[in-house]
């Protein structure tokens, strides 16, 4: 099977006039823990949702989002219209599309996919439930038309249902039979010389979960023919091993480079541009009104003082070696128009001290301030990579008479500790927010009441905020204004202090070109191995 898979790549290579040598296949290394989903698993219903990047590459969606403006652009759909009441969306598809096995790719596949996800949205397809909010039905009146009917207007249909991967009905239908229990265990992998059926620019010809995935150009792809004949992804256990392999020439490109490796890679001749951040590091301050102890943390003046005592620039300089931007609002820089222009809070321990003095938090023995007779000493929950950031935070807070102690946990244990007892226990927590789709909705929902206990990392719950969240879901205009207002609420109430936006750092050998080197968007962004990322890549000479 392995021989057939690589032979398939070799045939494709020879077909495009290139030599059938391994050097024509782009070799990418990725640290397994950086993958959104389970590395190399092509089943979005299993585990944490399958390998998001790999699935995006083989299963197309109705639309894509361009960069850096993040405007929707045609993909499977060439155009779309919405009815005046906002309840009916009609998509026109490209004609004569095919899956990689030659079967037609039509509106029927789109309608089947969305109907199946709707059918099981409270069961095996619950992970897609947020993409299908208010969707009632999906139908295909003909081969090139898809009609989506909603029971309420939804403002981000294109980012939600429009961005859902389209599955080939003729491959997945059997697994979806009955109650759909076959979907999570369906093994979506190449078999007996047959690549995975794909509708994207590449298909998968070899797969070893957690180890290696080999992609070859899809001869039936409806979009621009990729210059690359194929590429492979090797999954590494640590970034050190990945960097070593890159320098030794065992791989050609690697996303998710740690900041400490940038200068040595550039000195070795590798291309390592800085691209706008898709993620952020946050310090959560418990906002739960029913907090059991250290209730002075609910005092807005204490929260503001803590905010002013965090040296964000030092975090950028020391933790990220300059490859980051100081944090301010919850939408990272790559989200462009969705971000209000609010500056990063100034580092001003003197002002913080004056604020706490005026609020009556006097200094006690050892210089630690007292609140209700107890020292202002707090526990900060963190993960194993929080140490350096914590040290800077600790140093800043010491200057204003607040003492903090780090408790390191792995991510599941950290969330359990934060959300324990209805979020009433924890004081502060350090966390990098996971990446969501290229729409502000996910980042906003992290602070909504309905995500408490699920992925609300602070415990924040504010009725006004939630009302605005529902509004921005359904408005047909003015959404940017609402999203901005919501971020202003979070900025003022401080359930999370956004510390930094780490740049997306990807590296590739100078023997390859065609990567989008725009500072606006990372070509090899691990979470978004979207089709346009690699279609222009080719060897130099």
């Amino acid at each position: 099977m392995r021989l057939l898979a690589l032979a398939a790549v070799a045939v494709l290579l020879s077909g495009c006039g290139a030599s059938s040598s391994p050097s024509r296949v782009l070799r990418i290394g990725i640290v397994a823990s950086a993958v959104v989903g389970h590395s190399g698993v092509l089943n979005p219903f299993s585990g944490v949702g399958g390998d998001y990047g790999a699935i995006n590459t083989i299963y197309p969606s109705l639309v894509l989002f361009d960069v850096p403006a993040l405007n929707p652009v045609p993909y499977v759909a060439t155009s779309w219209t919405v009815s005046r009441d906002g309840l009916t969306w009609t998509f026109r598809l490209r004609p004569n599309m095919r899956w990689s096995d030659g079967q037609p790719l039509t509106a029927r596949d789109v309608a089947w996919t969305l109907t199946t996800l709707l059918k099981f949205k409270n069961g095996v397809a619950a992970g897609f439930a947020s993409n299908l909010g208010h969707l009632v039905s999906a139908s295909a009146p003909n081969a090139t038309t898809v009609v989506l009917r909603y029971n309420a207007p939804v403002s981000n249909v294109l980012a939600e249902a429009g961005s859902v991967q389209i599955f080939p009905e003729h491959v997945w239908a059997r697994a979806a039979a009955g109650n759909g229990s076959g979907l999570p265990s369906f093994v979506n992998a190449p078999a007996a010389g047959h690549p995975v059926v794909s509708g994207g620019p590449f298909t998968v010809t070899e797969l070893k979960p957690n180890q290696f995935v080999l992609f070859a150009r899809n001869p039936y792809y409806f979009g621009p023919r990729p210059a690359l004949a194929g590429f492979g992804i090797q999954y590494f256990g640590t970034s050190d091993a990945m960097i070593t392999a890159l320098k030794a020439g065992q791989i050609d490109a690697a996303p998710g480079i740690p900041p400490t490796a940038v200068s040595s890679l550039r000195a070795s001749g590798f291309v390592v541009p800085d691209a706008l951040a898709l993620t952020e590091d946050d310090l959560f301050i418990n906002p739960t009104p029913g907090k059991l102890s250290h209730r002075e943390l609910l005092d807005p003046r204490v929260r503001e003082a803590i905010d002013m005592a965090v040296d964000r620039q030092q975090i950028v300089n020391v933790v990220y070696l300059g490859h980051a931007q100081p944090g301010s609002v919850i939408e990272p820089p790559a989200f462009g128009k969705w971000r209000p222009s609010i500056p990063s809070p100034a580092f001003d321990p003197a002002a913080a001290n004056r604020l706490l003095d005026a609020a009556g938090y006097k200094r006690g023995p050892g210089g630690v301030r007292l609140a209700d007779g107890h020292p202002m000493t707090y526990q900060v929950l963190g993960t194993p990579d929080s140490d350096r950031e914590f040290a800077i935070i600790q140093s800043g807070l010491q200057r204003i008479g607040i003492n903090v102690i780090l408790r390191t946990l792995d991510p599941p244990a950290e969330f359990a500790a934060i959300s324990a007892n209805g979020y009433r226990n924890y004081d502060l927590a350090l966390r990098a927010i996971p990446v969501g789709p290229l729409d502000p909705d996910f980042n906003l929902s992290v602070y909504a009441c309905f995500t408490r206990g699920i992925y609300n990392w602070s415990g924040f719950c504010n009725p006004t905020y939630d009302r605005l969240y529902r509004q921005q879901e359904s408005v047909t205009s003015g959404r940017v204004r609402i999203v901005t207002e919501m971020q202003r609420i979070l900025y003022d109430q401080r359930p999370a202090l956004v510390l930094a936006y780490p740049d997306e750092l990807n590296a590739w050998s100078k023997h390859w070109t065609g990567f989008a080197e725009s500072p606006a968007f990372a070509t090899l962004s691990v979470p978004y191995m979207a089709p346009y990322n690699l279609t222009g890549v080719h060897r130099t000479g």
């Binding site: 040598s21 992970g127 897609f128 265990s185 180890q211 290696f212 256990g237 640590t238 392999a245 699920i454």
Partner: protein, 320 residues
């Protein structure tokens, strides 16, 4: 008769140990904060509906006692359950991972045993000399080094010379069988050396210590008085008697091969059971963890039982 009773007693103890370990396996991972549900549901697009669906699918909405009964029932039918992560049978997942681990860790362990026994023997043969000092201190040093640090140092040292990641060169096109085997063996060198260096020190020190104890016995003095050479005394009298404690260590080490090495497999991206265990801990994948630790437990218990039988052969007096 006495021997038969000894064997039966050891067998019964082995079965009891296995049952206790199975129960502890079940309890231990559920004591970890955070569950697979909270872990898997904490992703973009998650919802309360997803949490309920996952909890029901994994049986985590049942009482702990019911989950335990279901677990024992599955075990007695030879079913290790389904992974919470990729929804595939745990047995199949672990079999694939074990198939990658056993050659690497097995070979490294055997090399470590041979090297350790030889080093310990040489140290005692030349005890008190500079060779003994050097051997002992090197063994202690490698025994003390964190194995993941040692692995990272070897990654840096051998970068570009020997492969330091994965089990094979996945980009090798159309390799012959011999080339493929050679490729895998080449990939085993650096992680294997790392493991062997980390293990051999313990063997060397145990063998040296056991031999030194044996050399103080009266029968050794008799052997010397009879005119046997130093090497002859070691080989024919001291070493066989020193093998008893060494046998225990060898048995336990062989039993632990199936545990892989979490640190080494992660550093070298080796797709073995150690790395699978590490990922399963992060994912709170209880069935995989229970299955992996069950295999480890049964392997150690079985090897220990075999060691008891070997003892019987080495020294029949132990039945008394």
């Amino acid at each position: 008769m006495v021997r038969a009773r000894y064997v039966l007693e050891r067998a019964a103890f082995a079965l009891l140990t296995a049952f206790v370990a199975v129960t502890l396996n079940f309890v231990l991972f559920r004591a970890l904060p955070g569950t697979a549900v909270s872990n898997l549901a904490g992703v973009p697009g998650a919802s309360a509906a997803l949490q309920h669906a996952l909890a029901h699918e994994f049986g985590l909405d049942k009482s702990t006692w019911q989950q335990y009964i279901d677990y024992l029932s599955q075990l007695f039918h030879g079913n290790l359950g389904v992974s919470f992560d990729n929804r595939q049978p745990v047995a199949a997942n672990l079999a694939a991972a074990l198939g990658n681990t056993v050659p690497l860790v097995g070979l490294a362990t055997i090399v470590a045993i041979l090297l350790g026994v030889l080093t310990g023997l040489v140290s005692v043969w030349r005890r008190g000399t500079w060779l003994d000092q050097v051997n002992t201190n090197i063994a202690i040093a490698f025994f003390a080094f964190p194995v993941q640090w040692l692995g990272l140092m070897l990654v840096i040292l051998f970068a570009g010379v020997l492969p330091t990641n994965g089990m094979e060169n996945d980009f090798l096109i159309n390799p012959s069988f011999a080339t493929h085997i050679g490729d895998v063996m080449t990939h085993m060198v650096v992680p294997g050396v790392t493991l062997a260096l980390g293990l051999y020190g313990g063997f060397a020190l145990i063998v040296r210590s056991a031999l030194l104890d044996t050399l103080s016995e009266d029968y050794i003095l008799t052997a010397r008085a009879k005119g046997l050479s130093r090497w002859g005394v070691l080989r024919r009298h001291a070493l066989p008697n020193a093998m008893l404690p060494t046998t225990t260590l060898i048995a336990l080490s062989l039993g632990q091969i199936v545990a892989g090495s979490i640190l080494v497999e992660t550093v070298f991206s080796w797709p073995g059971i150690g790395r699978a265990i590490y990922q399963a801990v992060l994912d709170r994948d209880y069935p995989t963890l229970q299955g992996a630790f069950l295999i480890l437990t049964l392997s150690v218990v079985a090897c220990n039982f075999i060691a008891d039988l070997v003892y019987l052969k080495l020294d029949p007096r132990i039945t008394g």
